[in-house]
Amino acid sequence: MLSRVADSLYWMSRYLERAENTVRQLDVTMSLMLDAGGADEETRWNHMLAALGKHSKMDWNGNLEEMAHKLIFDNLSPASVTYCITGARENARQVREEISSEQWQRLNRLYHQMHSPHAQAQFNSSISDVLASVVDGIHLFQGVGASTMIHGQGWQFIRLGRYLERAYATATLLEVNQSEIFHSHLREDSGYPYLELVGLLRCCTAFEAYCQVYTADLTPARILEFLLLNRDFPHAIRYSVDCVRYAIESIQRSGGRRPPVELSSGIGRLHAMLGYTSVQEILSGDPAEFLHTIREQCLRIHELIYSYYVQYSIQSALAV
């Protein structure tokens, strides 16, 4: 597969994952603002922005509706949902011949939907309807992809992008939240507001899945265990890292090139960290540091993928 094409598929996928993550966090934050007794709107907004990666130009101006509009529609801000969807589409447009027509049509429809006057009207009547339709559009795109695209190298680059972005975003979310949530746990204060914990789970669409595993008894330690270490839940970091690892193995299998040691050991290290550490060990150590390490590792893996598959030097390739 052409390096440029792999690059585009990877970013198409990352952008969509990012859009979905932004939508979910905005939805949860806005619904938490409805309940009395918690933090004020500005604190919540800034908290959410931190979890989305500290974007500039999204500073709180006191008007939630305006801010939400900006975060959804402001095409000039890299933080916005529309920016991400446009980015995904631009990447897809450059690899139209690689993805299936059905995939392209889904994504194209989502793009036109976000740019239509209808979306503005929908926003004015119900913000959460807009958010729900974005998530629907992205899910449809992924579903159509799963059933119509060849599950070859291109598909693996799509998965690579999605799960690397997801692992990174979930680690960021937990890192931003950990001081409040887990330190309150260490103070043996079990009264941390229930809704906040539900909100954290919902940011990862994890509430129902959590209940299936642990019942509705929400404790910070279990939530950390679930979102960080669960092997079967698609939004858990460990699951995402396993998917990244599988995708890289599949790419290497189909390409027949010897994997660079740095890449396989980097991903192996991350996999082992999540597979062979208990939540007690993490909590008795420095959870913030642990989460931070995960993020660093994700960044490193991204760089290695780039230097091995996309931006390699001609001399090194001719030498093989």
């Binding site: 597969m1 139209r96 011949e97």
Partner: protein
């Protein structure tokens, strides 16, 4: 309205203009041509809202499939769907047979001409075509002299523009021998039409065109360098900002080949490679959709970032096939065009089947005087331009425009030709809820590998604005599906 067709047709036609121009659907008397009767009856049988509903659903299909072209210079809504008319243009089997034979003859002769000019130049030595006309052509590439082209095929992919004059005869207006575009619209038009009017396909025997990508692939494969039995074929595009980018992706996908940009290619020891996730992979055939000038900064324009450095040397070494060959624009130069009938006579010893449009060469003093005296009746075109740019349409021009053009002609006569203003045919288009006639041309797509292959049909381009004669998509033109009938 005239007698002979049912009353409900009248509401469909309204005040449909019929004059000396050939109408594809109706005779001068207003009578429907036989092949169009079933079509007209189907349309008249549909309630007006139903016709509009089908039009909307067709528009939506184009938008959702991203069949768009790019309008430059605006931030939002930079993509428009290619304007599309729902009423198919019909060509009978007999008409098509003549077109097919005529184009085959023409393309064969043009290819022989390119081969001759870039090798021995017999046609020049025999004074059939003036030497200075060829050497002064801006698309002549001296680098091609003496270069052996695979299977001697210079022009593997061609789109020639035909017009139908008032007497019903088809003539050739120009040949596109460099990077002809529009074939994807031909293919998608057909797909959308099949969804929109399935019942009409039942009543007509329409010859299929859907195998074009397969034919194109076979053509490219037949031109692969010797000793490469499983050639790696790619389509070279200028990139996502090119207005025909949709077509490039469409064809690559339909053929199952990689769509590459110049930055994906590298050359080493006169071999072209592409950068893949598995390392470098050798490229054998390039279907080139990048102009000569931008293809290789080492040989052509040095400031181009779209091409691949070293490509031409790899081509000259015979390690990669590039189609179309470089320098083919020489043969679609509008002044060289005037000599195509002589080429057909010279190389094939045959009479021309599809005639040219009468053309005045302004390099010739007598012809130039005549043209400058009669500018208001003529169309003047720059020889190396395409897309409807650089032309003066006499009857629609102002005295000042004519004066300016006359000066330009005197300054550089070789750069211009003139042709009479043609009254070319009109076909019915759905405008609002009525049929109105609009001027149309026809661009069939010709493939040339082992032999000449033409899919039956082509792109019918429409000048959608009332009275307009310009069919180019860059200037408000649209298209419609073209049906070549079994009978």
């Amino acid at each position: 309205m005239s007698a002979g067709h049912p009353v409900e047709l009248d509401s469909l036609f309204g005040d449909y203009l019929l004059d000396q121009a050939f109408d594809e659907m109706r005779e001068a008397s207003g009578e429907l041509r036989p092949q169009y009767r079933a079509l007209a009856e189907t349309l008249a049988g549909l309630p007006a809202p139903e016709l509009q509903r089908r039009k909307q659903s067709a528009d939506l299909a184009f938008l959702n499939q991203g069949i768009t072209f790019t309008v430059y210079g605006r931030e939002e809504g930079t993509e428009r769907i290619f304007p599309y008319d729902l009423i198919p243009r019909l060509i009978t089997a007999a008409e098509w047979d003549r077109i097919e034979r005529g184009l085959t003859q023409r393309i064969t002769a043009l290819n022989l001409f390119l081969r001759d000019v870039y090798s021995d130049g017999k046609i020049l030595n025999d004074h059939v075509i003036p030497r200075e006309l060829v050497y002064s052509c801006k698309h002549y590439r001296r680098q091609m002299r003496g270069l052996q082209v695979p299977r001697n095929v210079y022009i593997a992919v061609v789109g020639s523009d035909l017009l139908r004059l008032s007497n019903g005869e088809f003539v050739v207006l120009e040949d596109n021998l460099r990077v002809p575009s529009g074939v994807s619209y031909m293919l998608t038009n057909r797909r959308v039409m099949k969804r929109t009017f399935p019942e009409m396909f039942h009543s007509y025997g329409v010859r299929p065109i859907e195998h074009y990508p397969q034919l194109l692939l076979a053509t490219l494969r037949s031109l692969a360098p010797e000793g490469r039995p499983e050639p790696n074929i790619v389509l070279l595009t200028p990139g996502v900002f090119n207005s025909a980018y949709f077509e490039h992706t469409y064809l690559a996908r339909q053929m199952g080949i990689d769509l590459v940009e110049g930055r994906d290619l590298v050359t080493h020891d006169n071999i072209v490679y592409m950068r893949t996730t598995d390392g470098l992979k050798r490229v054998d055939v390039i279907y080139r959709r990048v102009d000569d000038d931008f293809s290789d900064p080492l040989i052509f324009r040095g400031d181009s970032a779209l091409g691949c450095t070293g490509l031409f040397n790899a081509y000259r070494a015979g390690n990669v096939t590039v189609s179309n060959a470089f320098g083919t624009g020489l043969a679609d130069d509008k002044a060289v065009y005037a000599y195509v009938p002589q080429m057909i006579r010279y190389y094939l010893n045959e009479d021309t089947i599809l005639p040219n449009v009468e053309t005045f060469l302004l390099g010739d003093e007598l012809q130039r005087k005549h043209v400058i005296a009669n500018l208001e009746k003529l169309v003047v075109k720059a020889v190396g331009e395409s897309g409807g740019y650089g032309m003066l349409i006499g009857p629609q021009s102002t005295a000042q425009q004519r004066e300016e053009f006359a000066l330009q002609i005197e300054a550089n006569p070789r750069n211009y030709i003139a042709q009479p203003t043609l009254s070319f045919s009109r076909a019915p288009c759905l405008i609002g809820d009525r049929l109105e006639p609009r001027h149309v041309d026809l661009r069939p797509y010709i493939l040339f590998g082992d032999k000449v292959n033409i899919v039956p049909g082509g792109l019918t381009r429409v000048a959608l604005e009332k009275g307009s004669l310009v069919v180019n998509s860059s200037q408000g033109g649209g298209s419609k599906d073209t049906w070549v009938l079994e009978q």
